[in-house]
Assembly symmetry: C2
Homo-oligomer: 207 residues x 2
């Protein structure tokens, strides 16, 4: 939500309001699921009027779609892609990020799952608009991870024969799969073993 | 649901009714989620009276808990553990079952996900009774897979240094992770690559 100095005040305020609504929506949906949150909940938490909210998001679905496009997609870039790009060896980056984003997180918070995975599980099967946007978010994540794996191959860290696109699918699956199963297990007994198994996979594909 | 010849008729009828209610509940919850199904939906589909249903399941939660304990747990045994036990090499069995249970399934049906994974995602974070039962189901699955991996090790198919419990967690995570991510992706573009990556992992841990 970059605010440009030259923008008229009204546009700046609209952008600020939009950002506030989306931040509140993100947290409420993360805790209760999309179907577990009402527009009234959002209005109450933002302290805005219903009119101010409806002005930007005429329906609850519009708000949900914007949540995927304007919050979750940028999170994929900020929390995954940008950090990976800092590593000389992206494979090391992937393991570091998984430790940081899952292994180091408090069990209680982890029980809420991954915001993207939760929406995929809840909304992709029942709403075509969500499905289209969630699919685009997953494809972005997979495509960017693929680019990092291609860089790993170019830098001599990954075996030449590895299909980077298939590996990118597998890595994103594992990230979401870790989050998904930890929701049903006690994290501390589950993470380390799964993480070590994932390391065996990386050992297999690394040079 | 074994019906013993010596049982009084009333007991047999109760068991039959219970089986019918649970079968209908399974399909409805699979399609719509636990929160998306009402007791009235189940009553209508079973053609029973509300009283007959409440006699066996005083609350919707009782019905949900029985669904995990009496339908989903036995499915883990029938669809995973028993088939694996038929393979001289359980690793080969795991790959065969994943191909059969995921790779060979029609995209449209696959979009509904895995019945156990769906309930974990939906109910584990919000209800302690579900969490306890879903955790027990996952632990059963992991423990039985662990036993198969121990057998693989004993038969000389798995490297001696492999932590079979960690590997069992990873395999169950991958099974649920495949189902989970395919809900958000086009199956045909995703399955084969992920499956080949999983094969690389198995190559690493196999003798």
């Amino acid at each position: 939500m970059v605010i440009h100095m030259g923008q008229p005040k009204k546009t700046r305020n609209l952008e600020k309001t939009r950002g506030l609504i989306l931040s509140v929506t993100f947290l409420e949906v993360f805790k209760h699921g999309f179907q577990g949150v009402s527009i009234d909940d959002i209005v109450e938490k933002t302290k805005l009027t219903k009119g101010a909210l409806y002005h930007q998001f005429p329906t609850k679905l519009d708000l949900g779609y914007a949540l995927v496009d304007e919050v979750i997609k940028p999170m994929i870039i900020d929390r995954w892609i940008t950090p990976l790009a800092q590593f000389e060896n992206p494979i090391e980056g992937i393991l570091t990020q998984m430790q940081k984003l899952i292994g180091d997180i408090d069990s209680k918070q982890l029980r809420l799952g991954c915001p993207l995975n939760n929406l995929v599980q809840e909304m992709a099967p029942i709403d075509a608009g969500f499905r289209k946007r969630l699919q685009a978010a997953l494809h972005l994540w997979i495509a960017e991870t693929d680019l990092q794996l291609q860089r790993a191959k170019k830098n001599g860290y990954l075996k030449a024969k590895i299909d980077t696109r298939a590996a990118a699918h597998f890595i994103v699956m594992a990230h979401e799969g870790f989050f998904g199963i930890i929701k049903g297990l006690d994290k501390d007994s589950a993470f380390t073993g799964m993480f070590n198994s994932l390391k065996s996979y990386f050992q297999m594909i690394s040079v």
